[in-house]
């Protein structure tokens, strides 16, 4: 069953095959967790919850059309869940890196060695990505961390191919500016 495509596995899952679900989860769990972990600013428990909810939605929808690409579908559900989560009234609309990352970046009294450690932990990058607006962050994460093709990103976010390219271009420039700004703040 390992040799089956995602779409074939999904058809098996819709028939209630547990083995197919196991393979599908093993294939996508890591990638989805990585995407969501970065999307929600490094909050692992939240990312774990959304991954679980994504797979649950897949199982409960019963609306899978045979042959429909599974990977973009999974990311669409996950992205929508994150957006719904942050749209809720009780949640702060700005996505911020989790406290541990944020504390490191905001501490301007860090020495050079500590700054290197912080950089290795990805705190600076996390903070820079957190400063991007939702559409640019999602596009950049899907492209550079999860390796989705331009067309797959267009399918996930329901936007034209040209918009994907434009968001990648603008988003990368914004990321560069954020990184430079944070780096300068740390060295001052």
């Amino acid at each position: 069953m390992n040799s089956l495509s995602d779409e074939q596995l999904m058809a098996e899952v819709m028939l209630g095959k547990e083995a197919a679900l196991t393979i599908l989860v093993e294939r996508h769990y890591g990638q989805l967790l990585g995407y969501l972990y970065r999307y929600v600013g490094g909050n692992r428990p939240l990312a774990e919850d959304i991954v679980q909810e994504t797979f649950l939605r897949v199982l409960q929808q019963h609306s899978y059309q045979q042959g429909r690409p599974v990977k973009p579908w999974l990311y669409t559900i996950a992205t929508n869940l994150v957006r719904d989560h942050f749209k809720s009234a009780t949640i702060n609309h700005m996505i911020q890196p989790c406290e541990a990352i944020l504390a490191g970046v905001q501490d301007s009294a860090l020495g050079p060695e500590e700054q290197v450690v912080l950089a290795e932990q990805g705190g600076i990058v996390a903070h820079a990505i957190g400063q991007l607006t939702d559409e640019y962050r999602a596009t950049l994460l899907l492209r550079f961390y999860n390796g989705l093709s331009l067309q797959e990103i267009a399918d996930v976010l329901h936007i034209p191919l040209g918009t994907v390219k434009s968001r990648l271009s603008v988003g990368t420039r914004q990321l560069r500016r954020s990184l430079t700004g944070i780096q300068e703040g740390l060295t001052q």
């Binding site: 679900l21 890591g30 990585g34 679980q52 797979f55 550079f144 999860n146 390796g147 420039r173 990321l175």
Partner: protein
């Protein structure tokens, strides 16, 4: 578990080709590559085997559940080959519902039709065809709908095809078979230079459609056998009125043109449709009780 979280950031060349794909200019690539290379600094957690197992434990109870019958049907519908095999299987099952005596009897009637065509009856051959073809309806259609007498309605209701589909399938088999017989006869006639083969098919199929349709319609109100016999009797009378032999002198026989035969066929089809619809509604009511 293998992690792909850092693609394409492990390789600067791959990253550059990724940027090229996004229509970035060489200057932009040179400017942005170092920025994007920094993304690899932020590592995402990789789920352990235990994490995956825990997630699966939570997901498994939510897997869709189907009865073995539904699962088998869905499995058969997945590929074109399996669909074809399934269709052949269903067709053979439907065909096997007909007793061998039916096929034998219908073939004998067919042979009789051929004999009539090639016999020296002249104009009476069309009359004979019109008279004999409804027999197929009686021995075929009426005998086929035997489930009402054998109390197998519940069995039909639990079958994947609906009762409506079963009725249609059976009618299609009978009408298809008889159309084939009619066409074969017509072709034989045509190959021997014996006239209009389409007209012959019309003579053969029209009574079949009309009698089966009206008989089935009447069977909603009276017993199937009575309905079939009554319809056949009326048809017989109608055919006799069109034949000079059976009409008194001085009285003009009623014409039975090709257009009229076509109209009869359409009436038969409408009656069949009404019956199929009524049967389906009736079956649904029974199921609800």
């Amino acid at each position: 578990m293998q992690s792909h979280n850092r693609w394409p950031l492990d390789n600067s060349e791959q990253l550059m080709s990724t940027l090229q794909e996004q229509d970035a200019t060489p200057d932009e690539i040179a400017e942005l590559t170092p920025v994007l290379m920094r993304l690899s600094e932020w590592h995402a957690p990789t789920p352990t085997v235990l994490d995956t197992r825990r997630l699966l434990v939570h997901l498994t109870p939510h897997l869709p559940t189907f009865s073995p019958v539904r699962a088998a049907i869905s499995a058969r519908r997945r590929s074109v080959v399996k669909k074809c095999c399934w269709f052949i299987e269903i067709a053979s099952v439907q065909a096997s519902l007909l007793r061998p005596s039916f096929w034998l009897l219908t073939a004998l009637i067919f042979c009789l039709g051929v004999l009539v065509i090639f016999s020296p009856f002249g104009g009476a051959s069309v009359f004979l065809l019109r008279v004999t073809s409804p027999l197929i309806v009686y021995f075929g259609t009426v005998r086929m709908f035997r489930s009402s007498h054998l109390h197998t309605l519940e069995h039909e209701l639990v079958c994947p095809p609906s009762p409506q589909q079963l009725i249609l399938a059976r009618l299609s088999i009978i009408l298809g078979y008889d159309t084939l017989l009619g066409l074969c006869t017509s072709f034989l006639l045509w190959s021997h230079g014996g006239g209009n083969f389409l007209l012959l098919t019309l003579h053969w199929i029209t009574p079949l459609l009309l009698v089966s349709g009206i008989a089935l319609l009447l069977s909603l109100f009276i017993s199937v056998t009575t309905a079939a016999l009554l319809t056949y009797a009326v048809w017989l009378g109608r055919v006799m009125l069109t034949t000079k032999v059976f009409v008194y002198e001085g009285v003009t026989p009623l014409p039975l043109t090709s257009q009229m035969e076509l109209l009869f066929a359409l009436i038969g089809l409408v009656a069949l449709f009404v019956v199929v619809l009524a049967q389906s509604i009736h079956a649904q009511r029974l199921l609800a009780q």
